[in-house]
Assembly symmetry: C2
Homo-oligomer: 181 residues x 2
């Protein structure tokens, strides 16, 4: 696998950082890859914006931050407006249709999925939105296997919470599978 540079952008409370950490742990602990996960907090943190960077590679990772992501996830309009021009040509941009209303043309595959709406309709707990996003993300990008994500979840949470997180992950995978190719 070539090195993959990924940015998750959203706002506090959406579980963006947790999703990034779970992805990095899945890659490193269960797939034998190297992973680095970073968040930077500058003045923008006061506005509630959250960005987390993940680099996954078979090689040792020298520079942990992401300038131009191969894969970009935008969970707020603010994140979309700020980061969408950073994507690498030919990359993939995943946005949520409920939280990102206005998209522009980018030199990348752009997939807008109703992840938030599906979570609210089918699970009813916004707290697992981040796992649905992670499911859609790995369904589209194949960066790690779903089983590796589940293994990380199993070590991190009690049984009842695990169940709805796994359900949200599956929901995301289904949305990705049904998206236009």
């Amino acid at each position: 696998m070539d090195t993959k540079r990924i940015v998750f952008g959203g706002s506090g409370g959406q579980g963006v950082i947790t999703a990034a950490i779970i992805l990095a742990e899945a890659a490193a602990i269960h797939e034998g890859l190297n992973a680095v996960q970073t968040q930077s907090y500058g003045p923008e943190a006061r506005g509630g914006a959250t960005r987390s960077d993940v680099v996954i590679s078979e090689e040792p990772i020298r520079y942990p931050k992401v300038i131009h992501p191969h894969f970009l996830v935008c969970l707020t309009q603010e994140a979309y407006n700020k980061f969408s021009n950073l994507i690498r040509p030919g990359g993939l941009l995943l946005a949520d249709t409920h939280t990102v209303k206005q998209v522009r043309k980018v030199d990348a595959r752009q997939v807008a999925l109703g992840m938030y709406d599906a979570v609210m309709e089918q699970i009813g707990k916004p707290v697992v939105f981040n796992l649905c996003v992670l499911g859609a993300f790995i369904g589209l990008t194949r960066v790690v296997q779903a089983e590796s994500i589940v293994k990380v979840l199993e070590t991190r949470m009690p049984a009842d919470f695990l169940e709805i997180n796994k359900k949200a992950l599956q929901l995301g995978l289904q949305l990705a599978a049904a998206s236009p190719k």
Copy 2:
């Protein structure tokens, strides 16, 4: 404030990453500083070791990883053995007496506190060990105010869990205040 480079070392499940994120958010959101928080997962992640780096500065932060920390927290013997020789001369090394049994001479102030034992005796919930560590850490280093940590906690958890986390934070502050100068 000069730039502070901090390493938290421990094992999965001790809440090391959460503590680092809370510290970075407290500095950035409530004290107007810049902060970067990173974790790297390499082959050592398979062994359960966890390391999280935090850089806090008044200036923009160019390099997010820590080579030689001013402040080092070691919550397992493995973390101690691996990281204690990295500390900057004149820095501060905080270790837990329950989880780190063997210490060596380092060119830094070394403080071993019974944080785990105090949490188990006075609160009885190992899940808040990380907040006790964070309390002791800020008590010793004054990197951020306790109030800033509390503000972050208030946005992150439900009321009942908040209470025992605040109690653990206070316990850590008390242990730091009572430690030999």
